[in-house]
């Protein structure tokens, strides 16, 4: 059960992976408060718990589906903790999101007796839950979807992107991801590598105010023609070439609880540059570059030096490919099977 089911985003893809991991052994129904037309789901209020159900509850922003948690109920409840972005990291015109995240954070300790098991995807999330009083916590990293890895890349995009040298950002274009900082960093790197371009791939429907700030910054830095805004690409055949031909993925998020694009880029041998030290650094290990957001000129110098040093860059790419199998869908399914064997009650249906 999730608040919002959108085809092609991290949560939508994850739910599909969960479905394929359990489909052979369990009957599965997906419930959501809202979702896109491409995905079939039942409304959350239609969920009726029985003793043989497992409620797999995706915990993120507050939503109407929290009503299912008000009673302990006879079902086995699993909290899949997605992480909650701190409310102060939303733009001024996203007051509703601020309210929903603040409420989800406030209510987090309240449900510790309701959930029988908690699933987290990073050490950071495990720490947050422990601080909120949760005890039975299992870590299962998120994975690179098979759909993306096996997709046939669009020939036009593949042909054109392979001719470019570009940095890539993938994710929602929102304040929390610090896209303005990413553009600023790109502009500094470009001073040393004039042929360098940048592609920003991700949903831009949130915060019109932030989108305007991005337009203003691009104009101020004079890089409007060098930065491409691709919007959300839900078709894996379109997204794949953007990853495959990128030189580096740049993630300067102010907060993350996992960041799926990092492992997706890793799967294509694309190293990540990040300034996020709690979670993204944990995921990338020794496969990327960690920079300081505060000293952007220095960060740009280091990126330019990395791009100029073929041997070091090639080494990072090889390390990415070596580490990527840790985040494969097969690995995730195997971990989930272990969790099922050790923690699930006998005879159950997954919701």
């Amino acid at each position: 059960m999730t608040a919002c089911l959108t085809a092609g985003d991290a949560i939508g893809n994850y739910i599909e992976m969960l479905r394929s991991a359990f489909a052979s052994r369990h009957e599965i129904a997906v419930f959501a408060d809202r979702g896109t037309r491409e995905r079939v789901f039942l409304p959350s209020y239609a969920y009726v718990p029985t003793w043989e159900d497992i409620l797999w509850f995706h915990y993120s922003i507050y939503s109407e589906n929290f009503a299912c948690l008000r009673q302990r109920g006879p079902d086995f409840k699993i909290m899949d903790y997605h992480g909650i972005c701190p409310p102060e990291l939303f733009a001024e015109d996203e007051s509703e999101m601020k309210r929903l995240t603040a409420r989800a954070l406030r209510e987090l300790p309240k449900w510790r007796d309701v959930f029988d098991l908690c699933l987290v995807h990073s050490d950071y999330s495990a720490r947050v839950l422990r601080e909120a009083g949760y005890e039975r916590i299992v870590k299962t990293p998120l994975a690179i979807g098979r759909a993306l890895a096996e997709a046939e890349e669009h020939p036009f995009l593949a042909g054109h992107l392979s001719r470019l040298e570009y940095l890539l950002f993938v994710g929602r274009v929102v304040l929390q991801k610090d896209v303005l900082g990413t553009i600023e960093l790109f502009a500094h790197v470009r001073e040393q590598r004039p042929q360098l371009k940048m592609w920003i791939v991700g949903d831009r429907s949130a915060s019109p105010q932030y989108q305007q700030q991005i337009r203003d910054l691009l104009a101020r830095l004079g890089v409007e023609r060098d930065v491409g805004l691709a919007g959300r690409l839900s078709d894996p055949g379109l997204l794949k070439p953007f990853f495959k031909y990128a030189r580096l993925l740049v993630i300067l998020s102010r907060w993350e609880s996992f960041c799926v694009p990092v492992v997706e880029a890793m799967g294509f041998g694309v190293p990540t540059v990040t300034s996020e030290r709690t979670c993204v650094s944990e995921i990338i290990g020794e496969t990327g570059l960690t920079v300081e957001r505060a000293t952007i000129e220095d960060a740009a110098e280091r990126i330019a030096a990395l791009l100029a040093n073929g041997e070091r860059y090639g080494d990072l790419r090889r390390r990415c490919l070596e580490r990527a199998p840790l985040f494969s869908e097969t690995q995730m399914a195997a971990t989930l099977l272990e969790v099922e064997k050790s923690c699930f009650p006998l005879q159950s249906k997954v919701t």
Partner: protein, 175 residues
């Protein structure tokens, strides 16, 4: 997965490549019902370029585009979600109380109506732009096809025409 082999990029070519990619993703976004301002702007710029290209070749086409003011209104419609009374009238207590009551019961409905209306109008405008783009592309391609046909006919004519003066051999020319 193997490491991708890449060629050294050239700055001018990479600008053109970026423009082509930008147009591709914008057309795709509009086709899928995207409401992105940049996508609209990119397709509009391409329409203007195609119109200029056709005009330079002596083919004047009628331009269709919403004025910037109309476009701004279109996109501001979503933000104009409040009917809150303003100015001196807005400071009247009873009126504010009535507005509060109205807001409590009907603002959600009004917001949903505005969002649906904005979505439909934007979608319609995106469809018009896409249709126009395909019309202009068709005109440009037709012109190119005509040019190629003319050239082909000329070449065929040249090939079929018997030579007026048969070429003489080098020995005949005293070489």
């Amino acid at each position: 997965m193997t490491l991708t082999k890449r060629s050294e990029p050239d700055e001018i070519n990479s600008d053109q490549t970026m423009d082509q990619l930008r147009l591709f993703v914008s057309l795709r976004a509009l086709r899928e019902g995207g409401q992105d301002l940049e996508a609209l702007a990119t397709v509009e710029a391409e329409l203007a370029r195609l119109e200029r290209e056709l005009a330079a070749e002596g083919q004047n086409v009628e331009t269709f585009r919403l004025a910037q003011e109309d476009l701004d209104n279109l996109f501001l419609l979503k933000m104009r979600q409040s009917l809150e009374p303003e100015g001196k009238i807005g400071r009247l207590g009873p009126l504010r109380w009535c507005y509060g009551l109205f807001r409590r019961f009907f603002l959600g409905t009004q917001r949903r109506y505005n969002e649906s209306a904005t979505y439909l109008v934007r979608r319609l405008y995106a469809t018009v732009l896409l249709t126009r783009y395909h019309q202009l592309r068709l005109l440009v391609l037709e012109r190119r096809l005509n040019e190629m046909e003319t050239r082909l006919a000329r070449l065929e004519g040249d090939a079929n025409r018997p030579s007026a003066t048969p070429s003489s051999s080098p020995s005949e020319r005293g070489l």
